[in-house]
Amino acid sequence: MNNATAVEALAVAVSAGVPVLLWGSPGTGKTSAVVALAEGLDWPVEVVIGSIREPSDFAGLPVVIDGAVHLAPPRWAQRLCAAERGLLFLDELTTAPPAVQAAMLRVILERVVGDVTLPAGIRIVAAANPPEQAADGWELAPPLANRLVHLDWPVEAKTVARGLAVGFPTPVLLGLDERPSPARTSTARAAVAAFLEVRPALVLQVPASSAVASRGWPSPRSWEAVARLLAGCEAGRASEDARALLVTGAVGDGPGLEFLSWLEHADLPDPDAVLADPDSFELPERSDRAFAVLTAVVAVAVSYGDVASWDAAWRVVARAARGAPDVATLVARTLATHRPEGAELPAAVLELAPVLRAAGLLR
């Protein structure tokens, strides 16, 4: 992962309106990247540093007027309310005392500061130092961690060297003007829903240990964020790596990677459909994907165990053997060892013999 990918992911998250948290060592340019992002858009930006604030700076200052307590919002919140669009940058999230973190939570989640609500056009970005680097750092509370997309802010010698010489790159927002269309959003939601139907265990996994808890973890809320981020990636035509960063940042590494690999295989042909119509089967170009399809087809045919699907699987393998004899050979071995009773070895086996003989595997 490199810095450009992280910046791209940041831009997508801001465009999609999902609160994002940048994890990085002090002095690595997190603040300047966010400020540059706002300046590039000509948006107002408010940098609020958690560790030097009190809870009342986020929850509103309690003022007694005519016997009632009003929660007066601070100036930065009033300025943001006046602007239609803007960036709220909450810095040093983990070094803030827990009472301040709790107050920041409400800002991030409900966008409420004191008695006022931030307009929808205000985007929230936070930054934090990893607990092992901040001497007085606290672990992030799991509920707060769950509301944020976690992005690691990498330091690359190359980027720093180039940045010092010719200036650091300014992040550009992707797909901001082009709001994700309703169709795109519902496609993304459908993809997430389909995945969760296959893996219901991943809908909610409350972390057991506190060190893991301060990063993203799967919950219905974070899966919804994944759907919004996917739609945002589509609209902004973000790179595959930025998308991966966002998904794993929202729901954690394990569930995120499982979702991504499910997505990658979702566009492969359905084995049942291939078996039903073996003659119109088109082998994917990439050998490893071809292998994945053929393995699935063979596994399904073997599990049915009847002569008809076994014959259909051989026709698929025979078609594949013309384009990729090695891939076909690999799955043919499994198919041949699971011959149902009464089935005859098809002639296609003979086409595979030369490859097996050349590999020294045919007795």
Partner: protein, 444 residues
């Protein structure tokens, strides 16, 4: 020298068949690596004039392209090609390109005509790490392949370990030359003829670009990550069914599938939370009026508070605990407590085997006198902690867990257990952190 790249489809049929046979052979040798071998995208390299680059090892780049020289392909047996495919896939899966110790300085620069001594040394080290795992099957190594035995070194090390002991800048004479200069291990000359020059495994091995690298996008970073996990899953499955996966591959798949949790961080978090929960922290409260409130009567200001808790550490000093383990965990805990501002007045230590020994007030973990060495009963230690005056708010127990526990937590005391043995048992009323002191010592 101008290099052009062609698809494997453009090869003559007999070479295409040889390539297919090599992939089948490789997938047969190591079925768990089949997807990885198939993910390598072949590119045929042709040069317009002069001698082509040295592609004897079927070098790969970090985007999972593998470069073929038709002449090499025609001369090699499918088994030999298959061996190199497995070999290059291993370089890529184990990310040798990112692990190159001298990487970064020349990264992104123009490709060099010949490799630096460091690159050659790292190639040897990486090859040694790979080949002892590949040889574990029924493979015979091609004569130009490096193995730990041929370098006169033991099997089973990581590339970094081999790198450390290999001499600086082995001459172009290759492994045989370096062996002679080391003077240990029996020199094993190749079976016939002069020593074979070392094979270049390409940029997939050290991340530095080569003249034949095409620079086209290949397998994306995400696909590579997914592929690694897929291979790791297959290794685990294969090990369960057949049980013949080489140890190096098992370690690798464990690293990929179960990332190591840093026990230092977890223990620090548990202790910090424990202290914070019983004591309140440097935190804001509206329970007491702020002293500044008199100046602004209309505004309700919070005040600050930080009561310091009393902490008792109960150390299991029974025979089953090693002093070294205990010292490491003790050092971590006392470091965290010191950073929270807990001094000598607030921290007491109780050593405990079958009975509890008297309390010690300490400033530094090194000052603790470890008493005892018999059987185990942490209940006695906790009971002793509960009787201390002033009464502790937090008890931190460092134990291997092979001990009876009281049915309930001592009244009003929060308990954090640092468990030194995964098989040990802890009560559910305590916060438990598994401390694996061995893990820091195993290199990846």
């Amino acid at each position: 020298m101008t290099v052009s790249w062609h698809r494997a489809d453009e090869l003559p049929p007999h070479l295409r068949q040889r390539w297919a046979a090599a992939r089948v052979w490789a997938a047969h040798q190591a079925p768990y690596l089949a997807t990885a071998v198939l993910a390598l995208q072949p590119l045929v390299v042709r040069v317009d004039a002069g001698a082509g680059p040295d592609l004897r090892g079927f070098p790969a780049d970090q985007a999972w392209h593998v470069y073929l020289d038709p002449d090499v392909l025609a001369a090699a047996e499918p088994q030999q090609i298959g061996f190199w495919l497995l070999h290059q896939v291993t370089h890529l899966l184990r990310r040798h390109g990112d692990r190159f110790p001298c990487g970064g300085s020349a990264a992104g620069g123009a490709p060099l005509e010949s490799r630096t001594p460091e690159q050659r040394r790292w190639n040897l080290a990486g090859d040694a790490e790979i080949n002892d795992d590949l040889r574990a099957g029924e493979l015979t190594l091609p004569e130009e392949a490096v193995s730990p035995a041929r370098l006169g070194l033991p099997d089973g090390w990581t590339a970094e370990q081999y790198w450390d002991v290999l001499p600086d800048g082995p001459a172009d004479a290759g492994p045989s030359g370096s062996r002679a200069s080391r003077g240990d291990g029996p020199p094993v000359p190749p079976a016939d003829g002069p020593p074979v020059p070392p094979v270049d495994c390409g940029s997939g091995c050290d991340g530095q670009s080569r003249p034949w690298d095409c620079g086209r996008p290949g397998l994306s970073a995400l696909s590579q990550r997914l592929l690694s996990r897929d291979v790791a899953d297959r290794i685990r499955e294969h090990q369960k069914r057949r049980g013949d996966v080489p140890a190096g591959w098992q370690r690798w798949s464990d690293d990929i599938l179960t990332p190591v949790v840093n026990w230092r961080r977890q223990l620090a978090a548990a202790v910090r939370h424990g202290v914070a929960d019983v004591a309140g922290r440097v935190d804001f409260t509206y329970r007491r009026p702020s002293r500044r409130a008199a100046a602004v009567p209309d505004i309700v200001l919070p005040s600050l508070r930080q009561p310091l808790p009393q902490v008792a550490m109960v150390l299991d000093t029974s025979g089953s605990m090693s002093d070294d383990m205990l010292a490491q965990a003790l050092g971590e805990v006392s470091g965290v407590l010191r950073s929270l501002g807990l001094g000598r007045r607030n921290l007491r230590v109780i050593c405990c085997d079958a009975k509890a020994y008297g309390q010690q007030r300490i400033l530094d973990a090194r000052d603790v006198r470890l008493l005892g060495g018999g059987g185990t009963d942490m209940g006695a230690g906790l009971a002793a902690a509960a009787e201390l005056r002033p009464r502790p708010d937090l008890a931190i127990v460092l134990t291997d867990g092979h001990t009876p526990w009281p049915r309930r937590a001592p009244d009003g005391i929060r308990v954090v257990v640092g468990l030194m043995d995964a098989d040990g048992r802890t009560p559910e009323w305590a916060t438990t952190v598994l401390v694996d002191t061995g893990q820091a010592g195993t290199p990846r």
